[in-house]
Assembly symmetry: C2
Homo-oligomer: 292 residues x 2
């Protein structure tokens, strides 16, 4: 069993306040025995992508920076593997949405630069983030190979599969997703169910656990053009058959330890050996945009 700590929080304008609150959660979960702790996407700030505003580039930090020092120290002090998410400044005019993983000794194990970047009203990420250029590479840690992906990646079976083919022992999605408050209850339900379903399916298709950590709470649209975003929480952990091991509430923060049975993956992949039967001779066209 691997004890995984999940931090589902809402955030405020002030970065230091958010960091302090994340650190307290890390300390609490570590004291409960968590060995791996996962934060949500862009957990040091409000979700600033609701508008396209150059002033928001002030939230970006480099590697290394105060961000990496802070979370490296948090991992080391609490003896945990820590999955974090940052707005990375790589060069002037070149930014990424990047997940960083720190090991129990504070060492930066590796980074993942979000490959699939969304762009729709309220989620103007293509303005801020250059699509990742590292590819889908698991990050090696003292707890094994972590298939860390970010938010919009969760809709792509290709991303999950490539991580699994490269040996990822679990899939981890820091995310920031919510409802348009103007949507009907029925539409909200469809969207949240779709989000849960597609991520559970990555567990099923690949026989690995999935850990998805979202933020919760309402954040207004600074431009006033939309009704803001009601982040739907619902962070969850699924086992390698897609079975839900834990799900957080929609409307409240949650700091929870979840036991993940890693050994179960070996059994599941023997019972349902999907990797054995992939028709790799017939998959060439998956690299096409469209086939017409």
């Amino acid at each position: 069993m691997l004890k995984v700590g999940i931090v589902q929080h809402s955030f405020l304008e002030d970065v230091d306040t958010n960091r302090a609150s994340n650190l307290t959660a890390i300390e609490n979960l570590a004291s409960e025995g968590a060995k791996l702790i996962v934060l949500s996407e862009l957990h040091d700030s409000l979700y600033f992508c609701q508008t396209e505003n150059v002033a928001n580039f002030r939230y970006a930090e480099e590697i290394p920076s105060e961000f990496t020092e802070f979370y490296s120290q948090a991992a080391a002090d609490n003896n945990v593997v820590l999955v974090t998410s940052m707005f990375e400044r790589r060069a002037a005019g070149l930014y990424h949405n990047t997940a960083l993983v720190f090991d129990t000794d504070g060492r930066l194990c590796g980074k993942y630069r979000k490959m699939h970047i969304p762009d729709d009203p309220g989620f103007y990420e293509k303005f801020y983030f250059t699509p990742g250029d590292i590819g889908f590479l698991p990050i090696e840690t003292s707890l094994g190979k972590l298939g860390v992906l970010v938010c919009w990646d969760q809709w792509y079976p290709e991303a999950a599969r490539l991580m699994a083919l490269r040996g990822a022992e679990m899939l981890i999605y820091p995310t920031a997703i919510g409802w348009n408050p103007d949507d009907t209850d029925a539409e909200r339900k469809r969207q949240r169910d779709a989000w849960i379903t597609i991520q559970r399916s990555h567990a099923v298709a690949n026989g690995v656990p999935v850990i998805s950590v979202n933020r919760n709470g309402f954040e207004e649209d600074p431009s006033g053009q939309t009704s803001g975003i009601d982040f739907w929480g619902s962070s969850f952990v699924a086992g390698p058959q897609g079975e839900i091991l834990y799900m957080a509430p929609e409307n409240a923060s949650a700091e929870v330890c979840v036991d993940v049975p890693l050994q179960h993956s070996e059994n599941v992949r023997q019972w349902w050996p999907f990797l054995r039967d992939r028709r790799i001779d017939a998959y060439d066209d998956l690299t096409a945009r469209y086939l017409d």
Copy 2:
């Protein structure tokens, strides 16, 4: 709206009896207004793959054959597009698990030869079926392009994606899946949920409806080596957000018409434009068996 008729049946040893029962269902559903009717996998026989027995090759038929004449006539007489599933004899010693689609005039629109072939205790399909060599090609009909896949294919996001990239307007899975009666209730639930989840995820990932038709009822293992298969029914239709539009019972046959809102796909793909953002520059390795 497209009115889709689903035929979830249990079957008997006698082929003529099964055919007559399928025909009655087709007639009933057509009289209720169904324009597309989908039968389950290998709907003319018991699920003979519970054992490896050369005598079972007697169930195989050619194209054309009595099978094609019978279902061609059924489609034409009832003015429906009909999705059928057969044990195809292609040549001596060369057999496939093949779906055939007939149009409203009885014309054979096309065939799909099951690409992913399972093989585990009770499901010895690799003995009977050569993996398909046509690939993942939608079948053109008077109702549009149908992405017809079969059973084990349902576990592969690659198959669904390739159908969608080639313009499939819906995904259709004739299937034959059930429980080992020795499994615990908890394990049964996990398996059935995984099966529903992965197929719903294909709807989500591709923004198309999914129609999955299973058989129901218990069939014993002629060899006596296992406790047989309890086919779990649960045929279902999902909309393009993966939302369940209809689900059949686990333990009873069902002949049902379901309204499928095809126009909804256009909207869903605009809201969540997953096809727009696929990282086709980074998907080359999807054709690898494993990457280590």
